[in-house]
Symmetry: C2
Subunit: 492 residues, 2 copies
Amino acid sequence: MSEFKKVSRSENYSEWYNYIVDAAELAQHSAVKGCMVIKPYGYAIWEKMQADLDQRFKATGHSNAYFPLFIPKSLFEAEEKNAEGFAKECAVVTHYRLKSDPNNKGKLIVDPEAKLTEELVVRPTSEAIIWNTYRGWIQSYRDLPILINQWANVVRWEMRTRLFLRTTEFLWQEGHTAHATSQEALFETKQMLDVYAAFAENIMAMPVLKGIKTANERFAGADETFCIEAMMQDGKALQAGTSHFLGQNFAKAFDVKFTGKDGKQDFVWATSWGVSTRLMGALIMTHSDDEGLVLPPKLAPIQVVIVPIFRSDEDLAAITVKVDEIKSMLEAKGVSVKFDNRDTLKPGFKFSEWELKGVPVRLAIGMRDIQNNTIEIARRDTKFKKSTSMQEVVPEVVSLLTEIQDNLYQRALNFRTEKTKEVNSKEEFLQVMDAGGFALAHWDGSSETEEKIKEEYKATIRCIPLGNKQEDGICFYTGNASKERVVFARAY
Amino acid sequence: MSEFKKVSRSENYSEWYNYIVDAAELAQHSAVKGCMVIKPYGYAIWEKMQADLDQRFKATGHSNAYFPLFIPKSLFEAEEKNAEGFAKECAVVTHYRLKSDPNNKGKLIVDPEAKLTEELVVRPTSEAIIWNTYRGWIQSYRDLPILINQWANVVRWEMRTRLFLRTTEFLWQEGHTAHATSQEALFETKQMLDVYAAFAENIMAMPVLKGIKTANERFAGADETFCIEAMMQDGKALQAGTSHFLGQNFAKAFDVKFTGKDGKQDFVWATSWGVSTRLMGALIMTHSDDEGLVLPPKLAPIQVVIVPIFRSDEDLAAITVKVDEIKSMLEAKGVSVKFDNRDTLKPGFKFSEWELKGVPVRLAIGMRDIQNNTIEIARRDTKFKKSTSMQEVVPEVVSLLTEIQDNLYQRALNFRTEKTKEVNSKEEFLQVMDAGGFALAHWDGSSETEEKIKEEYKATIRCIPLGNKQEDGICFYTGNASKERVVFARAY
């Protein structure tokens, strides 16, 4: 089955993750260094994420559009901070043609005569090409706001990659909005952070902290970066989404001005915000266990699997009649159901396979059940199983799906709560970092201190939580004055 | 509004097309040569196409997945015919980093030290990377069939581009399936052609001919290419979708074998099939008129627009009450409705704007309508309008949407029928080509003759229709014997 050995989380969390991604058939490495193949089962989960997010974007007034994959180098470098931030990881197209290799029949070489006069950067993010386009769309306040999202692939050259978490090419959505005022852009930035947080918590069942990044961790080209941060089961943090207040930086770089109601010209205010296939990694690491993937029902491509227990074709036929009934009733309630009637595999094998794939609810039905009018119902999250009457199974499954969704969230929240500690000294700080978890610590507010902490403990400030409690204290690292505790952690 | 001058189809069909794409805000050229920006309204139509097609793919057993954007050159060249076919139009990534230009502060240059040891081709199509992946997925007949589709962007370097019709980057879907037998692969190839034809006719309201391409026009690497061909309003043909029977070519190139039920090893059989944003061009050119875009209701992002006719805020308030009622009732029937209550624009301006954008049904309502319990209903396709009673408007709109969908199809079909002629001589052939249309002509079956005809008349064989009538005849060009008439046309 899997090329990776089955390991438990406690043995080796990182290998466990690789095992789950592989064994649950979510993704694999490709022939292209750092690029992944997202397999059908993994992609089906991503599609569910997309569908839910897309609906939320539209409900908040956004439309989808599509901008080019390539960015001419001269446009890419226009916003200097942004360009500097991404320059080191850009894939660059320099030629537009291959030709037959004269020295090697059947092989191709890059045609030196087809060199581009200007190199094209494969988008690592699309602010440059989009703001260059917006210039032509915006003359007056009447053209604002522009509320656009794009679903796309982006490329950031990574030296060390991990499936879903850090890959050279990944899929994402990037919102790019343009506004007449700073206030409106800031409102948008926060609104989209809320959209992300609601999605993470209600759909992924993954609790997140909403906060602001420090200057060091800010998106290149942003005035302020807001983020949602989640805690994985090894206590490490994962940045699950970001929403950037870009100020007038891109408008200035691309000369995008508008005439206000008062007739005065001003530069346009911008935001951008994105989540990516990285969320797949976050989902896996938040809920899964040593037996395999655990999926929240709202993202499970298959919510209920039905496994027949039979010895003969006649048994299977009799069971199938009953299963078809239950399946139709569940589907009528909007539940996605798979009847695993493969006749070459034993029930035990099927149980393991669907457990590995994280299907939230399993129903099993044999000839004795048919006689007794019962059915076995098992939940993936707690592994609890029981027999129930055939009449009750549909409403029970429906309410169980809600219960599992809630339980997964609550379990992850409890875990985070346990693993989040106020620390007041270097010793306490190190303890929390080594045990895994979030440290709430006073910090003197300087980038220099932040850098030193990062070097010494491999820990970063994940965020300054929104609505953070203000309290006088002293920085655990320098002893300098501090006004609030910030969230430190080691991170993915 | 538009940078293009409004022109009629008869004046200049090509400029008319550019005008429609621009004025209806569907797409525009970008700063990257040959790459387009798909604007929100255009993208909303594409999303509707995607949603419908995706459902059809899933209903026929396919799953979506995602494969890398880049293809290492050595993989790309493995299937020689395919490589040869696309080599001339490949964007090539040669470097993975930019750095500061030491001679030009704030500018970037490609870092010569970050040269890739092997160049990466930006996918023009994904057979190579996918079949290289399938090798790891297929051992036995139990692993077959593999039925996968991918929604993605692809790049084919084009020298002369036209929005939607021929762009360097475009969006598409590409199905890639693997089968144990030739028969099964051929069945799949034809099934997907039928899926495309049903989509084109039932959803796009665009009649298509289903056929087979000649060897000259075949996909590079295919044993047989099936296609659907549509006729545009200038009588030119547009290839709207292709489905390829790839034989064992890619399996052989990538060494993909399976063990059959009989224990014997054989190469796997393949298909691939795709449609792209080119369909947007086909849609526009099939139905639109001199006043603007005409959309079939099934693809219209807005199916009904309601324009209030008012002089005062009080009027608008009274009208709004009534409109809200109608809007809710229509929405309850699954109709998408826009209430254009902008108070800065005159009704006439709004009428023109929604006409330009192809909204199938327009309702207009003023104070007199409120008093008389009436409403004006206008259809975009025939421009027919009438007053109807408020009680009747909802069912009338619902049935009108179906009527418009049918009428657009019928109108396009009648047009194609009129412009399709049997021709038996060079003179007749030239007449049809110059007037625009499909010529059904005997052809001697040789590639050489096909080439000569192409050179002399700029016309190609669009397809040999499926189930074509067999009849003895003589080639209009060479006078040699022929068994059937094939479809010639000038094409996009």
